[in-house]
């Protein structure tokens, strides 16, 4: 074959250009740490990465939901704990008041405390969280209990999705914890205690004991429910962390540059380019003494 000068230059130029272009690609990948810098680098992997990113975002969403609702359920749990303590104290008052040796003035002092317990119970049951009133079902802008102890909320519990396809109730309602809907009306029980103490009737006082105790149990049950909800949230959160880690591994496997492979290819390429330049120099100097 007849080799002309432009062929020599052309082939040197072409091979150097293609080496340089590969070199630039590798440098870009290494400096960004990512293999796929545009969809055309690997369309199939790019589509998968879009899916993985969306799933990772959804996982983060579930975790955010969990932490957002967790504050309220913790608050509910604490509130119910306080309420049960109030009922414990009411129980003590009832036992003390039922003692035949007690004077009418002592009973009326206890009646004042019973009255105050009732007020505290109302305040506690009407506690507010991030979403609004904690215990009024979905009617979060209405206090669950009116001053006379009437339940003003509803029984629609707050439901959220905490992991793919898993929906759970994350609230307890005041109806179950404090009203006859749950078995016993706690406010009525305290009212009865108050009335009995005022009327100085030992047997009537003693008769309120049953209702006070069952109210307490009812409140403790609701507290236990909130504890279970918190457990469920924690379990889901842990599982989501595992999913998030798994997704980030998948993303990295699909999208990250393998630094060792890339650096060794880059080194190899640099050597090749140097060799190509040396060969080019040799080729281009042939015939320089002709003229």
């Amino acid at each position: 074959m007849r080799i002309t000068d432009n062929m020599r230059f052309g082939s040197v130029q072409r091979s150097l250009a293609s080496l340089r272009s590969r070199h630039a690609t590798l440098t870009n990948q290494l400096s960004s740490g990512r293999k796929i810098l545009a969809p055309s680098d690997d369309p199939v992997a790019a589509a998968k990465l879009a899916r993985i990113n969306a799933r990772a975002q959804r996982t983060a969403d579930y975790q955010n939901t969990i932490s957002a609702v967790r504050a309220d359920i913790e608050l509910s749990e604490g509130t119910l704990g306080q309420a049960s303590q109030l009922m414990v104290r009411a129980n003590e008052i009832a036992i003390a008041g039922a003692n035949d040796a007690l004077s009418p003035s002592d009973r009326s002092a206890l009646a004042v405390e019973a009255q105050s317990l009732r007020e505290q119970l109302l305040a506690t049951a009407n506690a507010r969280g991030q979403r609004g009133y904690l215990l009024s079902g979905s009617q979060t802008s209405t206090p669950p209990f009116a001053a006379d102890g009437t339940y003003q909320g509803n029984d629609i519990e707050h439901e959220v999705e905490i992991s793919p396809g898993v929906r759970t109730r994350v609230s307890v309602t005041g109806a179950g914890a404090f009203t006859a809907a749950g078995g016993t009306d706690a406010f009525a029980a305290l009212d009865a205690l108050h009335t009995a103490l005022l009327s100085n009737d030992a047997s009537a006082i003693s008769a309120t004991l049953g209702a006070i105790e069952s109210s307490r149990e009812q409140i403790v049950r609701a507290q236990g429910q909130s504890g279970l909800i918190m457990n469920r949230l924690d379990t889901a959160d842990e599982a989501l962390s595992v999913t998030a880690l798994e997704l980030s591994k998948q993303d990295s496997a699909l999208g990250d540059v393998d630094p060792f492979a890339a650096i060794s290819e880059l080194t190899q390429l640099s050597t090749t380019i140097e060799q190509a330049i040396a060969v080019a120099r040799q080729t281009l100097t042939i015939g320089q003494d002709l003229f």
């Binding site: 969306a54 609004g132 979905s138």
Partner: protein
């Protein structure tokens, strides 16, 4: 035959070798000139005859080329140029859908679903509600921007196609004019090698815009054949013109005389014009359709879930997005619906009027749209559907890049073959130069010898 004939022969020889040296010089000078085809001196002996004793005659010069390779080169250069154009143009569209740099559509879509999820956790938080609306705004803006950019790009491609057609027409004129001048030169008995070089170079420029083939007809005229039409017959060019069809796609016509001429759009295969048309009327259109289908169906799905939800005012049946009534052009129209625009309180987070305001069930279902197949999107969920859209954009670009590198390799090979035949080799020229120099020296020696003989004759014998 006499001594003066020897002198005449030596004179012819010296002038022929000088001519050879001149041509060598021209070859050496033009070693790097694009399109230059090396020349060879055509030397022949003079016929023996009265007053003529077999001297040398420089009959002219010859351009060394191979018709077959040149044709192949023209055609492949056109195809390479088409692939190059497509690769470049698709690189620009790819940037519109590149989620790997900056915040793309995928991330703003994820952000929207995140806000639904937050809404389900705190359905009556005004900040969260405002965030949902703002994310919906951002998402619809991005969809619309992408659609607008694609649409603008399509009209830019029209301008580019128009420029290319103008360029083609002026190059057609140029080639035709050169053919005319070559004809005149040939008629005057001149060689016109330089004009031929220029015409070849211009033809290569032409084939980069629109793939052409050439042949010489029976009368020695150059015929330039374009896609499905003869573009130049001798020195008569036929111009191209553009038109827009009813469906918005471009049509290319080859005018003949004053008439409308025939449409050649479907024959276009190589050259920049073919690349521009391919991208404008196929790739970009498919991209637009995909984006429209995506925006329309996703918007409707979100709307239909949202319509079941109740706003804080106790009403339902509202839409979040306005995507119009048909998929066509939906992406370009997508915006936050007037139902809820500026009214975060009207977002339907609750599943019934009775459960207001603390119920986020409907918001939870809205967030769930992210994980379930969207009707009309072939059973794909939103991120899968977007992944497919982006993957398809990437696939087109990748395919164009592959085609480009394949065609470039083929063109480079033919270019090498062409250079092998028509290129200048300095080694050869060096040898040729030495040959001519030696031959010239020898001829001048013959001349001197004949001169000495004459001197002997005149000065010695004649005395």
């Amino acid at each position: 035959m006499g001594l003066t004939d020897i002198l005449a022969n030596a004179r012819d020889a010296m002038s022929a070798q000088t001519f050879g040296l001149t041509v060598t010089g021209q070859n050496v000078s033009n070693v790097n000139t694009p399109g230059y085809v090396r020349r060879q001196v055509v030397l022949e002996t003079r016929d023996l005859g009265p007053g003529n004793f077999g001297g040398v005659n420089a009959a002219g010069i010859r351009r060394v080329s191979d018709q077959f390779i040149d044709q192949k080169h023209l055609s492949l250069t056109g195809l390479s140029s088409e692939a190059f154009t497509r690769d470049q143009l698709l690189g620009q569209t790819e940037a519109l859908f590149n989620d790997f740099v900056g915040a793309g559509l995928n991330s703003s879509m994820s952000a929207l679903f995140s806000s639904f999820s937050s809404l389900s956790a705190t359905p009556n938080d005004p900040t969260v509600r405002a965030t949902v609306l703002q994310r919906a705004e951002t998402f619809s803006n991005q969809v619309r921007t992408a659609a607008d950019q694609v649409a603008n790009y399509r009209s830019e491609l029209f301008s580019q196609a128009r420029d290319v057609v103008g360029d083609i027409n002026s190059k057609l004129d140029g080639v035709a004019e050169l053919s005319g001048r070559i004809n005149e030169a040939a008629a005057a008995g001149q060689d016109a090698a330089d004009l031929r070089d220029k015409r070849d170079a211009l033809l290569i420029e032409l084939t980069k815009k629109i793939e052409v083939r050439t042949y010489t007809d029976g009368t020695g005229q150059l015929v330039v054949q374009g896609p499905g039409v003869t573009l130049i017959q001798g020195d008569k060019p036929r111009h191209l013109s553009l038109d827009i069809a009813d469906d918005g796609s471009l049509q290319v016509f080859a005018r003949s005389g004053g008439g409308a001429g025939g449409e050649v759009t479907k024959f276009l295969s190589g050259g920049e014009l073919a690349g521009v048309l391919q991208v404008r009327d196929r790739d970009v259109v498919e991209m637009q359709n995909e984006l429209d289908t995506f925006a329309f169906n996703l918007g409707n799905q979100i709307n239909s879930v949202h319509a079941a939800g109740f706003g804080l005012d106790g009403q339902n049946g509202r839409a979040i997005f306005d995507v119009g009534t048909s998929a066509e052009g939906a992406a370009g129209r997508m915006r936050v619906s007037a139902d809820v625009e500026g009214r975060p309180d009207l977002l339907g987070a609750a599943s019934s009027a009775a459960s207001l305001p603390g119920d986020g069930t409907q918001a939870m279902l809205l967030a769930g749209v992210a994980d379930s197949p969207v009707p009309g999107l072939d059973g794909l969920d939103p991120s899968e559907a977007y992944g497919r859209l982006m993957g398809n954009v990437g696939k087109r670009k990748q395919e164009a890049a592959n085609t480009l590198s394949m065609r470039d390799a083929m063109t480079a090979q033919v270019e090498t073959m062409r250079q092998s035949v028509s290129g200048v080799s300095l080694d050869e020229e060096m040898v040729a130069m030495t040959q001519y120099q030696r031959a010239f020296e020898a001829a001048s020696r013959v001349f001197t010898t004949a001169d000495q003989l004459l001197e002997t004759l005149i000065n010695t014998l004649g005395r």
